[in-house]
């Protein structure tokens, strides 16, 4: 039950795909070196699902502001 509530909170509003952060449609990364090292799942819930399958934990990096738009 708590998992469902958590997933609902994480995805409570529509969110643009993380690889498309520019309104003009350019296929830009949210930041220039995204996926150069650590590989990021598209959404937190996708990470949770894959972690459950692969018996791993989840690392969720949270930031504030427009820091995710540096690649635009």
């Amino acid at each position: 039950m708590k998992t469902l509530l958590l997933l609902a909170l994480i995805q409570s509003e529509p969110c643009e795909p993380v690889t498309h952060c520019c309104n003009d449609g350019r296929d830009a990364k949210p930041w220039a070196l995204m996926n150069a090292g650590v590989r990021w799942e598209k959404t937190p819930e996708a990470a949770m699902e894959r972690a459950a399958r692969e018996k791993k934990a989840v690392m969720l990096f949270q930031l504030v502001g427009d820091l995710h738009r540096e690649g635009c």
Binding site: T3, L6, W40, F61
Partner: protein, 177 residues
Amino acid sequence: MRTVTFSDAHVAKLVSEHFVSAWFNRGPGFHNEDYSAEQWIAAKSTYPTRNICTFFMTPEGMLFDYVAGYHEPAVFSARLESTIEIRKALPDGIDAVRAAHRRAAERAFAGGGTIEYRGARYDAARTSDGYFRALHEHWSRVETLPWLDEVRFDYLYGNSFTEESRDATGVGGRCVN
């Protein structure tokens, strides 16, 4: 964190072995065109700003560790190794997790406040020794492990520096336009 630490090959290897990663933009903020603050922060090896936070949790969303702020690869790598040990304690229950955090607090740069990484030594003044120890000691006293949403907007032991606007509500997978 994004461009330095998470691009580091050793950090990436550690992360991929034990974690599945995702990122989340918490809420509105100004589009920063002046990067002098970030350059100053990146010049230090570690800086517990509340602007960013890395959470570690089970696939169900139960939190067992977090670290706020920027930490360069050497510091984050050492920190990750503690987190991995803490995660191994999860099946044994809350007492084991608390004990693992206590060990991490004691071990936090116990070598005279230094860590070794790729042949280089980093001293306590650069490794936020006090911050990590306080954070682990906090975790060693929790009665139950929290769910992510219980702490994600009010995580402790972070510097008050933040770019968050007053209007940020930070709920859900909100993206900023």
